[in-house]
Symmetry: D2
Subunit: 420 residues, 4 copies
């Protein structure tokens, strides 16, 4: 595991989260309230360095304003938890429902995604008041709910907490994208540094055989990790280490951004259309390449893992190297065998697996059924977690997913080789 990044504040006790299993008996109300406070506070901690103007901006359709993340995660608890489960609950402001619903069609119409940045009111301060209102109501619910009610409440609360953690990561990647559009290169945190990579050489070998993949145990999981099922792993070697900036610079020096034979057809079109010559946020400087970071624009460190690469670039890199990206199950089995360095906490790792449903998968009932299932096409699975992922959020069976052209996340890769 990588060293602690600046976003991790040791003042928050690591043991405060995750909460106890939903099914634990007796239910530990205090532990759940502590977990709730922990997660909610982390969102505010991440937003704290940002001015009201910073929190307002939406720099592209894929990104959302900080303010919106803060409000949407709050709306999630109001919509799915308080509306139904807190007797006598008064909606904070009915008009916010339209503004802060993200994509839940079943929950009604919503502000078009591309227009999230136009909502200057409610202000940042009013969003803070909204958060405080919901925080009080949720804590009231947790403190006072009858045991039977708690059984229904806790699974929703738990998904709300993990949902908010996902937005904590997006809050960071989205403001980095916005700052990267500004020729002044604003700084989110001057002390921030990318963690050092472990980078052991060599590879772990997986033998031909059937393994179980997907979530097991009584901890939290998302629906897309289910059902746990058998999979056949073919003989495969997976590198222990991540691909580094030094290796990526060799790939670039070999002309790879101008050699169509290394690229998927759609990837070549994207690279040409976008004018890609290097990973995202890289710019040539007087002393070599630089990258926009949370600490502003910085020189490239050759020893760090490469990040802000799209799937198309990761795929071209693997082809150039005569290797493959691992499948998501090769990654999961290798990680379970303890063979991967830096599996978590540095960069999400592109696999070569399309994001699709596990055999027998069925989405959650109700509006939360839209959470994951409806996105199961055209995207690629990433495994691990990144420097922006909240502590305790990711696990081995966790499936992240993005479109193959996207590169504003902290996305990197490790290589593998499979044999039939």
């Amino acid at each position: 595991m990588a060293a602690t990044a600046a976003l991790r504040d040791p003042a928050f006790p690591a043991q405060a989260f995750p909460p106890p299993p939903v099914s634990a008996r007796p239910v530990d109300r205090d532990a759940w309230i502590a977990a709730f406070r922990f997660v909610r506070a982390e969102t505010e901690r991440r937003a704290a360095p940002l001015s009201p103007e910073d929190q307002q901006v939406q720099s592209m359709a894929d990104a959302s304003p900080t303010k919106w993340h803060r409000a949407h995660t709050t709306w999630f608890f109001e919509q799915f938890l308080l509306r139904e489960h807190l007797p006598g609950y008064q909606i904070h402001d009915e008009r916010l429902h339209y503004l802060f619903n993200s994509y839940y069609v079943a929950a009604g119409p919503r502000q078009p995604r591309i227009m999230r940045g136009l909502i200057t009111r409610p202000t940042t301060e009013e969003i803070a008041a909204y958060r405080a209102h919901i925080d009080r109501a949720v804590e009231t619910l947790l403190a006072q709910a009858a045991p039977g009610a708690l059984e229904k409440v806790l699974p929703i609360l738990e998904i709300g907490l993990f949902h908010e953690q996902q937005h904590q990561e997006l809050l960071i990647t989205d403001i980095l994208h916005a700052f990267a559009q500004n020729p002044l290169h604003p700084v989110y945190d001057p002390a921030w540094r990318f963690p050092q990579a472990t980078s052991s050489p060599g590879a772990i070998e997986l033998a031909h055989g059937i393994h179980q993949v997907g979530h097991a145990g009584d901890g939290f999981s998302f629906d897309n990790e289910h059902p746990r099922h058998d999979t056949l792993i073919l003989p495969t070697s997976i590198d222990r280490g991540l691909v580094t900036n030094a290796e990526w610079l060799r790939f670039m020096a070999d002309g790879s951004y101008t050699r169509s034979e290394l690229w998927l057809s759609d990837g070549w079109l994207a690279a040409q259309a976008e004018g890609w010559e290097a990973p995202g946020y890289w710019q040539p400087g007087e002393q070599g390449w630089t990258c926009m970071t949370l600490a502003g624009r910085r020189p490239i460190d050759p020893a760090q893992p490469v990040t802000h690469v799209s799937y198309y670039e990761a795929d071209a890199y693997a082809r150039w190297a005569g290797r493959d990206l691992p499948t998501e199950f090769e990654w999961e089995v290798a990680a379970a065998e303890g063979g991967l360095d830096d599996a978590f906490g540095l960069v999400w790792q592109w696999t070569r697996s399309a994001y699709t449903a596990y055999p027998g998968y069925r989405p959650l009932p109700g509006a939360l059924g839209e959470y994951n299932g409806k996105f199961m096409l055209n995207q690629i699975v990433l495994r691990g977690s990144s420097v922006a992922t909240p502590e305790g959020h990711a696990r081995r069976p966790y499936r992240n997913f993005f479109y193959p052209h996207q590169r504003w996340q902290f996305t990197g890769l490790r290589l593998a080789q499979s044999r039939a």
Copy 2:
């Protein structure tokens, strides 16, 4: 002239602006400093009700953030006045040049217009500091410049003041557009009301004859009002009053938004593509049509002049009425003859004149040559002024211009009829 609108604050003495003619002898430095302060203060007064979030947003490519208007008008003085004419002047921050140049190609590269809303830093407060810095420097220059230097400085100062007034109007129309995207209908000024129209019936008749049009006298004018020249007016009648909401509702009731024969071909395409069924910002409410205003969403007042109509709509209205829009010269001559009610201060009035150069027109030398001339195509002249136009800004020969599909300005119309 219409009654004073809320934007006019009687605390500012009306006599403080406009400044004395540039050519006056002796030069009245105090009057110029007062004029400068007056104009600069008006910008701040218009921005004052807006939160930092409000000032950040750019709701479409045609609009700009409040913050950007405040900074760009400031950059204008720094770029065209202080850089060259204040000895020893230190640029406030060289990096702002790229951000706040609007369209002056000769002044170097600039932030793409569509990306003005992404610049969260400098913050609103830093913009205020930038303004204060420039204010001090300009006042120093005005107080200390030798008489010979003043002769060069004053014409640039004057254009800078009128330029800032143009942005004062845009600041208002642009934030209204942003607020209109927000389903919460934010209020800029709860006390704001559209001024009452005078609305005399009848028309003024212009006889066949040669008139002079364009700027005359020693007051300020823009280059596009020159040269003053002869024009032939054909027999024409022009209505004294503006077209009102009541009249527009009759036009709508006659199905006019669905009758292609009333529309120019390009106008019909625009209306269909944009789904126009009424003027801009109109929405059906439970008690009839409403319009987004500076005081929030309000019922339509039938007695007020219609506003937020595009040229395409104004043209269709005239065709429906069996009338014409006046040419810009018909308007100018009729106004000179005192025959027009509400010529100023309510709505800009679409003419049927394409915005082109006057015969013999040549743009200003240097970078300010880009001010007006390069836009002399594809746009339509509007005459008069609107409720958002700063006091003292508009004059009879003043030529405003917008594209025929645009309708976020306070644009209306009066009818005419010409005979060959």
Copy 3:
């Protein structure tokens, strides 16, 4: 007047067209039938060198297939003449109505313009049969109509003939555009040569004074030439000759396609977006610039008038030369005074006049009211005629019009200078 171009076939007697005035007494049926045959034959003569494949293609939204031109001009007679005025007339094929209506909303729905090239059936041969069917019916009508009926028929017939001539020109410019997309540079007519220009040096001077412009007399005219009316001409000099390729090459050599200060703002955007570096169809060759022509790709002839330039380029050229384009009325008065060389038959000449209605203009009643009036915005008037214009079609008051970015027509310019 320029020498005869290859498209003019001397086998057609020049006196056969135009037909006698509509109001002539007694009506000369034979002359009208001869005129009808003359015009219809000219369309076929222009299509004759083109294969069925050539006649099928639509190379951009602004252009139409040859086959479509042949059918649409035929539909025009069927729709506006035969349907109403030939007793017992049987529609050739009701299904063609949808396909070959161009833009007459009052005549019902129609094939989207952009999809004209997808209509492979009816075939070219079937279009020929459609033409023959209509030809017979029209001749029957002309031969048999009672005198009272003829009075209604002849004005429609006449507009149909001039309408067909307009499409004869488009047929040529549209196939040239299609051929220009083909790297094989197909040849329409190997013997075709651009006519030599007369190119007298010097200019004609127009004095300050009122002139009448617009159509006069009892010959044919379009509605947009009316009403004839007074206009004031300011002192102006207009060059006798057209701008030549040699002059344009000097403009290019001066870097004018890369100097934004020479361009209108919208023109500069168009030039950058389209990558303009020279007039339309120009490509650099081993021995200098070449141009796609009806005889295939040919070296530029410096003595010929420049053609395939947009309004934006013509305007930039005038600015570079420190001159103006003439207004449409300056052109018309100068032409009436006999001062212009090559006014007709080489290239349409951009004026600086926006295409708008003459004072008091009202469109024709009925569906033909859509002919001209609804296009009176966003376009620029061109005067004269081109090498592709049918003999006898253009006249001094004739107003052609295109959008300022278009350059697939034979469009050039002459310079002028106006003084207030």
Copy 4:
């Protein structure tokens, strides 16, 4: 196997194709020449009902003109076979190389795909001459090549034949798309009928176990069917029959095109943007739904398998039915066990498998390496074959692939259900 459709002409002996295995000893030159003639003649037979105009048209970016298919398949033999392997071969026309290269970047620049329909020259007749020229040269090569040379020639010839068969299918689907844009509903073959479906009820059950998938044996295969490898099949049931029009009408009657919860997110966006209310080419008629077919517009036959559905629709249908689409390997194993009706010859069947490389896959060396590998992203595997697929072309391991929004192919589905 479905009954013979009109495209199958019994005059062509079924035994003439496929050719003997490349590795057969001794090489049967006559059989290869016969196979070559058979395939080439089939292309011409499919083009024969089409006029030159029909063969010219490109009705969307995904489709190509008939003429282009005829020329491109010919270019393929010239480029990859004759250029290198026929001593002294003279290129037919060097200029055709640019026009008829499809997507082989290594083979040089090429006509932009979207502009294939603009190439009116060479004409249809000239394409026929090009085909005849290449046919003679290939036959010469096959007759005269030394045995050692033949070893290199035959694999290229073979891929050229299967390549041409792929274009034979596209020729049909592309002209059907073009005809579907024509309100006259042109008829390709009045005698054409969709073959009757077998439609047995019930399903085949697959047990948990490891199977081999991918190509085996010495017959022809594409690179994307390799390497043959182990796969784990989970317990699955697959329907014997295809989904029929009758079943699809029930899906429609249940409001499924307006219920977002049945759709993938990207699918819902596509359906809304395109206005889908039924499968492709369906239109409501007076007696119910009709579909554009090769015999013109015809009433929907409830007993036939549904076709012209996109993956998004197929996926929504499966969700509505509470079922799944099979994976490509479930399909392949079930087909091998003889459990599928109508696996071939009616409609390609969407699987739920993303189109990706088999483990250890490496593309062919040289320019033909671009054949399949570079498209292995963002597309979905279809298995089986369709009514437009040439006889003898498809096999069980054959992998067809299209983007999930595409529906101009003959694409349908069968349902399955997998259990972890």
